[in-house]
Symmetry: C2
Subunit: 418 residues, 2 copies
Amino acid sequence: MALKKKPVTGMKDILPKEMEIRNYVMNMIRETYGTFGFSSIETPCVEHIENLSSKQGGENEKLIFKILKRGEKLKLEEAKEEADLVDSGLRYDLTVPLSRYYSNHANELSAPFKALQMGNVWRADRPQRGRFRQFMQCDIDILGEPTYLAEIELVLATTTLLGKLDFHDFTIRINDRKILKAMAQYSGFPSESFDTVFIILDKMDKIGLEGVEEELKKEGFEESAVKTYLKLFEEISPDIQGVRFCKEKLAEVLPPKTAEDLETIIATVDAVKTADFKIVFDPTLVRGMSYYTGPIFEIAMDEFGGSVGGGGRYDEMIGKFTGTDTSACGFSIGFERIVMLLLERGYQIPSEKGKKAYLIEKNMPADKLLLILKQAEEERRSGTQINISIMKKNKKFQKEQMMTEGYTEFVEFFKDRM
Amino acid sequence: MALKKKPVTGMKDILPKEMEIRNYVMNMIRETYGTFGFSSIETPCVEHIENLSSKQGGENEKLIFKILKRGEKLKLEEAKEEADLVDSGLRYDLTVPLSRYYSNHANELSAPFKALQMGNVWRADRPQRGRFRQFMQCDIDILGEPTYLAEIELVLATTTLLGKLDFHDFTIRINDRKILKAMAQYSGFPSESFDTVFIILDKMDKIGLEGVEEELKKEGFEESAVKTYLKLFEEISPDIQGVRFCKEKLAEVLPPKTAEDLETIIATVDAVKTADFKIVFDPTLVRGMSYYTGPIFEIAMDEFGGSVGGGGRYDEMIGKFTGTDTSACGFSIGFERIVMLLLERGYQIPSEKGKKAYLIEKNMPADKLLLILKQAEEERRSGTQINISIMKKNKKFQKEQMMTEGYTEFVEFFKDRM
């Protein structure tokens, strides 16, 4: 009859201290993204297994928590394979459910539609420190806006949020899938091998230019292509000059307006931004998901030593799902990483109303308790947190415990002194 | 490749309008319960199947969404029954996870511990109007407080919240499991049949006193017992007088202090309450869950025609799970019902900052777009929601769409007029 005390493998209980930070961040997200016109939506955590297995989720489709059929639909004796047993699963991201949601409700939503989703997703990853099998994702997406206004607004909204959460000196890396392709084409790689090239390029952070050169050669690509390709990366500067350089150099292979639009995005974000960050053109930025079709971006933060969010334009994905072409662009911030960084910093939530504890002597008569409760009522009405407890024998320990939960002020009530 | 567009059976997509109300209610809950010293906690949505099947969940245990084992642990060929296939499931309530959480973390938490949980739970109920298979629960629990201070604070916190959400004229029905038992014992029912008696009594709302009489007789109970029992209900008034009547009449079978404590709870709540409600003694209140050990309560709201929340003391449950006796008392409000009532009323969220739409003529030059974005930045900084969209050919329809999402003010920007 005794319970298993630990949470299921890879998932975690959240203690009050972390919850305070999480709630604070969530409120800040809703408030900030709200001012940019994003509307909160929600989809069920459980999704049709067919939708989760539609090949849009890449590797994540291998990590699904699958849900058993129920009642008469479960035919255990006849089941030959896993697929016969399940009808649904826990969502592994918020993009697949968003596509379903949009196809189900497009005529009830404004166009373009600006969606804010915060919700848990589940992936049966190998458990490892700091990564959990249930974690919160936080996505903003603009559906139905084909122009760069979408990219600009997404980057401004995200960076405004980070600034309000006291993050500074971070970098928005931006690139465009079309530039990525044009560079490979210009260098002479065959188009069917672009994905292989990009997977290697994506390691630039870790293995450097020389490592990329080595791996490309090992893959058997022509030396001239590799040489041309690497030279491009040396020549391109991480700024608007770099974008202009691409525009000229890749003129014959780059679709029109690609470089101009990217330049406008960078220049406009730089001019309007309120937070303290850099936006840089980074031709080595790949981003794993193959569904991106235009600008892609990522947040780099030294403090974290990696990406704390990213996104891009994926104009062809929703149409594949719904049958109607819908331009789309999204930005996802790493909610769990941001919370982790704030906790590590010992972040103090600003302007919190006081937390006060009333300690009441045991067996307080009802008429005196009533007076104490009325006093508490008045303080609570003005927003003060009043935690009323019966005084323990070990009052010192009791107070210490409460202090770890942020109670700094203690008021003691004794029977004889009221 | 096309998606299934509808959510899985019995679950729902939440549109922006409902999400606004939900977020508002959730914030109000966190804020109000916060002032009463409740700390937010969270447990994973996925729970060990052993914990979900421990018989504490009653009928809900039949409605579990079960999760398939993964990898090598899933041995499809060897599986003889459902239990061989699953290792976990979606939680059907927040009380079982709270017990696990408390047993896992008690030494990191203050004592008494005041927990606020808001989270989704899942039950594979037969789908029916207004009831969903994924729904939000919202529980407050005080663990480790044996005195009636817990009951008083729970009722005050809950009713303060309802008052802030503009609910009036509701009723808190209160009873005590010990009075329930004493009345049955006094009347001469054998103690092993108490549960049967209470199941019949619980129908009083629907079938009335005569119906209860009839069913008790049909069950074969002695006529004298039934007569004595029903006479009690006629004699007890729904107020403190009724409690005092019980105290005298049931003196020989009622544990000491039961009636006094209940009287204090009612009188104190009545004296301290800020919201506009009645608290009444209701000796017919049973509440289904057999784990209650002391005072029990329920919120009745004419508007809804039923209960929109309830709770009580369950001093023996956590000990059964954890091995350490822990007094406990909780109150759960019907979050989904409250949201439904507010939506039906057309509830307007008070003091919301304005929602403004900027409509921009197509192909606005980058330098002019920049000016517009700067203007938006200033307004957003002061909290106004600015939704920037490219103007459509059918501007009238575009505006109408946005008006349904609460945008009342429109600012139009044209290339030639900037």
